[in-house]
Symmetry: C2
Subunit: 251 residues, 2 copies
Amino acid sequence: MADSDDKLPKYRRIADALKDAVNSGQYAAGDRLPGENDLMETYGVARMTARQALGVLQSEGIAEARKGAGVFVRDFRPLRRRGIQRLAEAQWGSGRSIWAADIDNRELEVDQVDVSVAVAPERIADTLGLEPGDSVCVRQRRFVLDGKPVLLSTSYLPAALVAGTRIMQEDTGPGGTYARLAEIDAKPAHFREELRSRMPTADETAALQLAAGTPVILICRTAFAQDHRPVEVNEMTLDAASYVLEYDFDA
Amino acid sequence: MADSDDKLPKYRRIADALKDAVNSGQYAAGDRLPGENDLMETYGVARMTARQALGVLQSEGIAEARKGAGVFVRDFRPLRRRGIQRLAEAQWGSGRSIWAADIDNRELEVDQVDVSVAVAPERIADTLGLEPGDSVCVRQRRFVLDGKPVLLSTSYLPAALVAGTRIMQEDTGPGGTYARLAEIDAKPAHFREELRSRMPTADETAALQLAAGTPVILICRTAFAQDHRPVEVNEMTLDAASYVLEYDFDA
DNA sequence: TAGTGGTCTAGACCACAGC
DNA sequence: CTGTGGTCTAGACCACTAC
């Protein structure tokens, strides 16, 4: 109701009607919506107009087109990421992975791993307090939930610091990178996370298999040792539809 | 270079060429990009195809169309919001607004204020531990930076708790709502912020004057008193292009 | 094979911006 | 006023999906 369509373009009215139908429960998550041909007939519009209406729902993240099959209502069951508890020393200090703190009885797996050494990009060198041209250990990973990629992570550590440690290997051992840093007198004591959100690039869309209308959340985390020296920068790219981020803190 | 266009659709190639030109600095923020007519001529394509190419840049938040004028490269200078320091008691305890912690020598102003009493929505009643049908004080505000709205905030407090206090007025006085809560034995001691990101609804697009291709960040903050009783829920909607969120914490 | 969405063309009229 | 983007039509061919 309240279809106060003064002079809304046709495609907006059709889109609004579809959205109302979805919100009213007429179509549930996973259901197929009326296709281009259906809309052309129902509303007496041209193909491009029906298409544009369906495009609105896709760009708002409400629906998802599957080639040759139809347009479907998207599901939305995000993972809860506890920003602070997950990095408490009790997590990795006890040999558990910090990623274990993310799962709500669902499986979060590492899908792709790549470890290499390279010259530090300028912004990383700045943050880590390195000289231009210094090398860093680069650890790239992709995380998959229920078969769908949800997170890309690229971690940078000063090569001079971590040379010869298990951090240079694909499997960093119990407690992960942070437990290993603790063993070489570089135990993380303080973290800073910076968050942004924007629409994905084509590369990100491919790597995370993102539906149209899904933003990404960028997290840049810097880990500092007790002496305030930065020891790691971790740049993450999250499928925004797959995550809720939580931060708990005192006044 | 590296235009490895195997079988990319025309509009994607045109879009990629434009993106390269933007990234290489050929077009700076605020510059006008080649219009539909220019692209039709340059690439020998139909109007809808040129249009689709420009649509890619807009939906990725790179460019912004202005009716009757052209398509322009968007500017991007986000505001830094320090999630934890800004809520430290030292902020509001000293009579300063928590919003003062957001500005980087730029003006953040309240644009619209509305204070009312209403029945608590179900999710709010749940979070605040109220019975269904209980009333809440609802404080709605819009914040503007450099003339552009960047943040919508709706704060809910139990009506029984704040009745008769300055929290029910538009101007809550020095230190704001939290300072007033402290005066009635409900001083916030702990906070939880939950973050999501998604594409905006039509209402949000209008209220925040969002360009196409701009996501919103949703923050739901719950404030707890010393005795762990929830005293406020604040739902915020941020223009994602206007904000960087920062959280600092110890291991 | 029939139907779906993805891409593309070649036109059209409109509202709005800037000169 | 001219040019811009916004909307819309009526066709077309393709690749893919499901049956």
